[in-house]
């Protein structure tokens, strides 16, 4: 697992950073939305939506890591002239790791966002209902 993380290269840092931001945002938003006197405040919604934003950020950063990996591999191939197809596909496989990791982070953050957003909407409709009733 650590080997996979190391092999992703420089892009592992923004990916790890966005994952940690998502974790912090999910924890913070959960506390704000599930505490006793929770309210559907606009700022709480902004933090909740930020979970999805950082998920998208992680995915796009993962794709960027793959593209940069391909550029580096292709430049090396150009310089070397002929390389074995096994080496080329090996390089592409490694370059795809960051995209896969980004996609997993996006999937997890989307699920967390969906749950938090549902709770926010429930609070908002309860507040609107009590204001009209």
């Amino acid at each position: 697992m650590i080997d996979l993380w190391v092999v992703m290269g420089f892009i592992r840092y923004p990916l790890t950073f966005s994952s940690m931001v998502i974790l912090a945002l999910v924890l913070y938003s959960s506390v704000r939305l599930f505490e006793g006197d929770a309210r559907a405040l606009p700022m709480t919604r902004t933090w909740t939506d930020a979970v999805l934003f950082w998920g998208g950020f992680a995915f796009i950063t993962g794709v960027l890591g793959t593209l940069l990996g391909i550029v580096l591999a292709a430049q090396s191939i150009e310089q070397a002239g002929t390389v074995s197809p096994m080496l080329v596909w090996g390089g592409i496989k490694v370059a795809l790791y960051s995209s896969v990791f980004g996609l997993l982070v996006l999937a997890a953050s989307s699920l967390a966002w969906f749950a938090l957003h549902l709770r926010w909407r429930a609070l908002a409709s309860r507040e609107t209902g009590s204001a009209h009733g």
């Binding site: 606009p42 902004t46 550029v71």
Partner: protein, 265 residues
């Protein structure tokens, strides 16, 4: 400002003092956080005084009216308070003609935009990705730099000039520009792929060489688009979160319940 239901003992909105607080809270010439701070301080002062006046023997209505008239500034005092709350940028440039200041701001923004463009172009040049670039790289660089320049202009307006009249204006434009940069990069890669397919149809023997060159070119194009789009999206998020935060603080200071749909205004 609509009403301050929570201000203890406050009289109706028709009093001069109430009107001056209302004007202060909605004064577009002052930054939103400064307005919030002033309103909070004044409401706090207003909160204690009526109780003391009632303790001295005045009726609650009269105590509230008297406290509002004493605490809330009006006329020259209000002007002085507004001057103190004005952003430092305005106070520093108070001696200059507004037209010249605006021209200097525009020139500074143009220079910053060109610097960003130069930085992006320089990076691509240094990494050897401009030797045979995709023709779609230029529009990506153009739209991407425009996105960053728009963020810079908005951040300057909000955080340095303190101009908070319609603070959300332009935010959607930033999001659209960031998405457009990414879209242009992806569409460019797709169009280049169509062009490559056409070339390979006529000269299939050069397939491996052309494909490698295409990969490098398109990876550079899409990477550039992604970097610009991510920077734009981060800028948008920072501005959006800050505006929501100050708007919510302002609504709370005015004793207005922040509505769940407040930020869509």
């Amino acid at each position: 400002m609509t009403s301050r239901e929570g201000a203890p003992g406050a009289s109706g909105p028709s009093t001069i003092a109430e009107r001056s607080l209302s004007d202060l809270a909605s004064n577009p010439g002052l930054p939103l956080p400064a307005r919030t701070r002033i309103v909070k301080e004044l409401v706090d002062d207003l909160g204690g005084l009526p109780r003391r006046l009632v303790a001295e023997g005045r009726s609650p209505d009269e105590a509230g009216r008297r406290a509002a008239e004493v605490v809330l500034p009006a006329g020259p005092a209000l002007q002085e308070l507004e001057e103190l709350a004005r952003p430092r940028y305005h106070r520093l440039l108070a001696g200059f003609e507004a037209r010249r200041v605006r021209a200097a701001e525009r020139a500074a923004l143009a220079v910053a935009t060109l610097l960003m463009l130069g930085l992006a172009g320089g990076t691509l040049l240094r990494t050897g990705l401009l030797t045979a670039p995709s023709p779609y790289l230029w529009p990506v660089l153009g739209v991407g730099t425009t996105t960053l320049a728009t963020i810079l202009a908005k951040a300057f307006k909000l955080w340095i000039k303190g101009a908070h009249h319609r603070p959300r204006r332009g935010l959607r434009g930033i999001a659209v520009l960031a998405a457009l940069t990414l879209g242009l990069g992806c569409a460019g890669a797709l169009l280049d792929l169509v062009s490559l397919a056409g070339t390979l149809e006529t000269t299939p023997t050069e397939g491996a060489e052309l494909l490698t060159a295409w990969l490098v070119r398109e990876a550079a194009l899409v990477s550039t688009a992604i970097i610009f789009a991510l920077s734009g999206a981060l800028g948008w998020l920072a501005l959006h979160a800050w505006i929501t935060w100050v708007e919510q603080a302002h609504a709370e200071a005015l004793d207005l319940t922040p509505s769940p749909t407040m930020e869509s205004k």
